[in-house]
C-alpha cells in the first residue's frame, strides 16, 4: 500500500489549516492572560470539545483500540466508568473553586488553598510529566508511522533510508505544533483541538462503518467472539474475563481514584475549562465534553473488536462459535493455515509488508487460546523475528489494531484522511501537554521561584521561550525513549506514584475546611510512598520482577497488570486521605476568612439562574449520567 498525491494533498490541507488558525490569532496575543488563559473568553462548547480533544492523543486512540482487541468491549469502562462520572463531578462541584478562586493553574489553586510547598511539589512533578508524556507519545507515533511502511516509497524515492521516517515524523510534527502554539498560545491550541476533534471523527467513522460491514455488524461481532468480549460487566472477576479485574476493582480503582484523579486534578484538561468566558461556561465545559466522550467507545474501542473479529479470508460462520465463555477455539482455527499479513521489519529494498504465514510462526494450538483476527504478531525490530512470551507463544501487537484496519479497508484518498486523523490526534495531545507545560512553568515555577516581580511582557516572552524549550525537551525525550525504553517505563511509573494520591488532597482541600497545608503535604508524600511500596511488593501474574512490580519482594500476585494498577492507586489514595486528615488535625487550621472561595462550605453557591434550565450544570450533568447509565445497561 502506498500513498498517492491525493493522500499527501489531504495531509497538506490539514497542516495549512492548523497553522492558519495560529496565524489568524497572532495579533490578539498581547498579554500573558491571552497567551496562557485564552483571555478567559471562549464559549463553553469550544472549551468542551477542546477538553475532550486534548485528552484524545494518538496514544489514547491506538491504546483504546489495542485494549478493545485484548479485553473486548469492557474497555469502555475507561469511558463510561472511568471518565464520565468524574467529568460530571468536575463540572458540577469542582469548577467553581478552580474558576472562582482566580487561580491561573491547578498548582496555583494548591498554593491559595494550602501552601507554597504543596504547590511546588505539584508544579514540578506536573511540568516534568507533561514533557515526558509528550515525548513518549511522540516516540510512539513516529515508531508507528515507520512500522506502517506507508512512507517507505516516497522516502526511498528521495534516497533516504526508512529510519529517516522516524526523524522526519518527529521533527515535522513538533515544528507544526511549535508554530501554532507560539503564534496563538492557548487559544490557538484550543481552536485547533476543536478542528482536530472534527477531523478525528471524520477519519475514523468510515473505518468503523467499513469494519462493521465486513464483520456483519454488532451481531457478527457477537457471533465471532466469546461472550466476555461483548459485555462490559457480565463475567468480570470470574477468572475467565481477559481483564482480570473484578467489578469492585473497576468501580473503586478506575471509577473513583484513577478517573477522578485524572479528570479533576490534571491541569492539561482543567486548563481548557478555565479558559471559558464565564463561571457557568466553565462548569458546562466538562459536561459538554462528556456527551461525545460517552460515544467515543464506538469510535475507538470498536475498531479493536472489529480487528479481532475480522478474518483474513472468508467470513466466519456462526457454527464456528465455541461454547459460551470459552475463547474462540474453533473460530481461530478456521483461519489457521491462511497466510496472515504481519508488519515485519522492512526488507532491505524497503518493499514494506512482509508476509509471515502462521504455519511458519506458531503452532496451531497456541493460537487457539485467544481470538486473533487480523492482529499482526509483535516483531522484534532488530532481528525481524516474532516475539514470544515466556511460554513461547507468539505475542500479538495489539497496538497495530487501528493501523492494520486502516490499511485493510481504506483505499487511497480516504487513507490519507485516516492518516491525517491519526496525526491530528497526536498533535492535539501534544499541544495539550505543551500549553499546560508553558503555563505551569511560567506561573508556578518561574514566576513563583525564579523571578517573582517581572513585567507581564517578560512573562509573555518566557511563555514563548518555554514553549520552544518544552517542545525541544519532548523531542529529546522521544529520542531517549527510542534508546532506553526501560528508563521511560520507570519514569512513567514514578509519575503514576506521584499522581495517585493527588485526588485525596484536592477532595479534602475543597470540601473540608479543616485540612491544612502541612497535612496536605504529608499526605501527598506518604501517598506517593505508599503507591511505590504497593507496586514494589506486588506483581501481575506471569510478570518478571522489575519495572512491572515486585522489586521489593512479592507479597501478592494480581491476575493482571490492570488489576495491580487499580489497587496501587486505591492504596495510595487511602493512605493520602488518612494521613492528610490526621496531620491536619494535628496542625493549626487557617482562619475561615482566608479560605473564602476555596472551600465548599465557605463559598457562595454559584448562581446560574439566567441560563436556560436544560443548560444548567446540574441538569446537564444529570442528563449525561442518565445517558451513561443507559449505555452500561445496554452493554451489560
Amino acid at each position: 500500500m502506498t500513498l498517492t498525491w491525493l493522500d499527501w494533498l489531504l495531509m497538506l490541507v490539514y497542516f495549512a489549516f492548523v497553522i492558519g488558525v495560529g496565524v489568524a490569532l497572532r495579533r490578539s496575543m498581547k498579554t500573558t492572560n491571552d497567551f496562557f488563559q485564552a483571555g478567559r473568553a471562549l464559549p463553553a462548547w469550544i472549551c468542551g470539545l477542546a477538553f475532550l480533544s486534548a485528552n484524545l492523543g494518538a496514544q489514547e486512540i491506538i491504546g483504546m483500540a489495542a485494549s478493545g482487541a485484548k479485553y473486548g468491549i469492557a474497555t469502555s469502562h475507561f469511558y463510561w466508568v472511568g471518565a464520565i462520572p468524574a467529568m460530571v463531578f468536575l463540572g458540577v462541584f469542582m469548577m467553581p473553586f478552580y474558576y472562582g478562586s482566580r487561580a491561573r493553574s491547578v498548582p496555583e489553586y494548591l498554593r491559595l488553598r494550602f501552601d507554597e510547598k504543596t504547590r511546588g511539589f505539584n508544579a514540578i512533578s506536573f511540568a516534568l510529566m507533561t514533557i515526558f508524556s509528550s515525548g513518549i507519545s511522540m516516540y510512539a507515533m513516529a515508531k508507528l508511522l515507520q512500522i506502517l511502511h506507508v512512507f517507505d516509497r516516497p522516502f526511498a524515492a528521495l534516497g533516504l533510508e526508512p529510519s529517516y521516517i522516524f526523524h522526519v515524523c518527529i521533527i515535522a510534527s513538533a515544528l507544526v505544533v511549535l508554530v501554532y502554539v507560539l503564534l496563538g498560545g492557548l487559544s490557538s491550541a484550543i481552536y485547533n483541538e476543536v478542528l482536530q476533534f472534527f477531523l478525528i471523527v471524520a477519519g475514523f467513522l468510515p473505518l468503523v462503518y467499513l469494519g462493521l460491514r465486513d464483520v456483519g455488524g454488532w451481531t457478527g461481532i457477537r457471533a465471532a467472539l466469546p461472550d466476555s468480549y461483548t459485555h462490559i460487566w457480565r463475567g468480570l472477576g470470574t477468572g475467565t474475563h481477559p481483564m482480570g479485574v473484578d467489578a469492585f476493582g473497576v468501580a473503586m480503582g478506575l471509577g473513583f481514584v484513577l478517573s477522578f484523579g485524572y479528570w479533576c486534578t490534571d491541569f492539561l484538561v482543567v486548563q481548557r475549562a478555565m479558559a471559558a468566558d464565564s463561571m457557568t461556561a466553565a462548569r458546562r465545559t466538562p459536561l459538554i465534553g462528556a456527551i461525545p466522550k460517552m460515544l467515543f467507545p464506538f469510535l475507538v474501542v470498536l475498531p479493536g473488536l472489529i480487528a479481532v473479529a475480522a478474518t483474513s479470508g472468508q467470513p466466519l460462520n456462526a457454527t464456528n462459535r465455541a461454547g459460551s465463555n470459552h475463547l474462540r477455539a474453533s473460530g481461530a482455527s478456521a483461519s489457521l493455515g491462511e497466510a496472515r499479513a504481519t508488519f515485519a521489519r522492512a526488507e532491505a529494498d524497503g518493499r514494506g509488508l512482509q508476509v509471515v504465514t502462521q504455519s511458519q510462526s506458531a503452532s496451531e494450538s497456541d493460537l487457539a487460546t485467544r481470538p486473533v483476527g487480523v492482529i499482526p504478531f509483535k516483531v522484534d525490530e532488530s532481528s525481524g523475528r516474532i516475539m514470544r512470551d515466556r511460554d513461547g507463544r507468539p505475542q500479538l501487537d495489539y497496538d497495530l489494531a487501528i493501523p492494520t484496519l486502516l490499511l485493510r479497508y481504506f483505499p487511497t484518498g480516504i487513507l490519507g484522511l485516516g492518516l491525517t486523523a491519526l496525526l491530528a490526534s497526536f498533535m492535539s495531545g501534544m499541544a495539550g501537554n505543551v500549553t499546560a507545560f508553558n503555563t505551569v512553568w511560567t506561573y508556578d515555577i518561574y514566576q513563583a521561584y525564579l523571578r517573582p516581580r517581572a513585567s507581564d511582557a517578560h512573562y509573555l516572552w518566557m511563555g514563548r521561550m518555554s514553549t520552544i524549550f518544552g517542545i525541544a525537551a519532548s523531542v529529546l525525550t522521544a529520542y531517549v525513549a527510542a534508546q532506553f525504553n526501560n528508563i521511560m517505563d520507570v519514569l512513567q511509573l514514578v509519575f503514576a506514584f506521584v499522581n495517585a494520591p493527588l485526588l485525596a488532597t484536592f477532595l479534602l482541600g475543597m470540601f473540608w475546611k479543616r485540612a491544612t497545608g502541612h497535612g496536605a503535604f504529608a499526605g501527598l508524600l506518604t501517598g506517593t510512598l505508599a503507591a511505590a511500596l504497593h507496586h514494589g511488593l506486588t506483581l501481575p501474574v506471569g510478570a518478571v520482577a522489575g519495572v512491572k512490580g515486585g522489586w521489593l519482594g512479592t507479597w501478592h500476585t494480581y491476575p493482571s497488570e490492570m488489576a495491580q494498577n487499580f489497587w496501587t492507586a486505591t492504596d495510595a489514595w487511602t493512605v493520602c486521605f488518612v494521613v492528610t486528615i490526621v496531620a491536619s488535625l494535628a496542625t493549626r487550621p487557617r482562619p475561615d476568612g482566608e479560605l473564602k472561595g476555596l472551600v465548599y462550605s465557605l463559598t457562595d453557591r454559584p448562581r446560574d439562574d439566567r441560563t436556560r434550565w436544560f443548560l444548567r450544570p446540574a441538569v446537564l450533568g444529570s442528563f449525561v449520567l442518565l445517558g451513561v447509565t443507559i449505555l452500561n445497561v445496554v452493554f451489560f
Binding site: 491525493l6 494533498l9 489531504l10 490541507v13 490539514y14 489549516f17 492558519g20 488558525v21 489568524a24 490569532l25 490578539s28 491571552d34 485564552a38 483571555g39 473568553a41 471562549l42 469550544i46 487559544s187 481552536y191 476543536v194 478542528l195 472534527f198 477531523l199 471524520a202 468510515p206 467499513l210 460491514r213 465486513d214 485493510r408 479497508y409 481504506f410 483505499p411 487511497t412 484518498g413 480516504i414 484522511l417
Partner: protein, 67 residues
C-alpha cells in the same frame, strides 16, 4: 479572540470533501475492492461536504447577527 472556529473547520472539510468526492467520482473504481466494493471516497467526500455546508451556514448566520 474573534475567531469563529466553525469557519476554519467548515472550510477544511469543504476542501477535503471536494477532493475526496472528486476523486471518488472520476478516479479508478477498481481501488474500491479493498473497501468492500463501497466507493468510500465519493460517499465520505459528500458527507464531509454536507457537514461543511452546515458549519459554514451556522458561521455565516452568526457573522450576520453580529453586524
Amino acid at each position: 479572540m474573534h475567531l469563529d472556529v466553525r469557519l476554519p473547520v467548515g472550510l477544511m472539510f469543504a476542501v477535503m470533501g471536494a477532493l475526496l468526492a472528486g476523486y471518488g467520482a472520476f478516479g479508478d473504481p477498481s481501488i474500491y475492492r479493498r473497501s468492500l466494493g463501497v466507493n468510500i471516497n465519493l460517499i465520505w467526500g459528500l458527507v464531509l461536504l454536507a457537514t461543511a455546508a452546515c458549519l459554514l451556514a451556522l458561521s455565516a448566520r452568526r457573522a450576520r447577527d453580529r453586524s
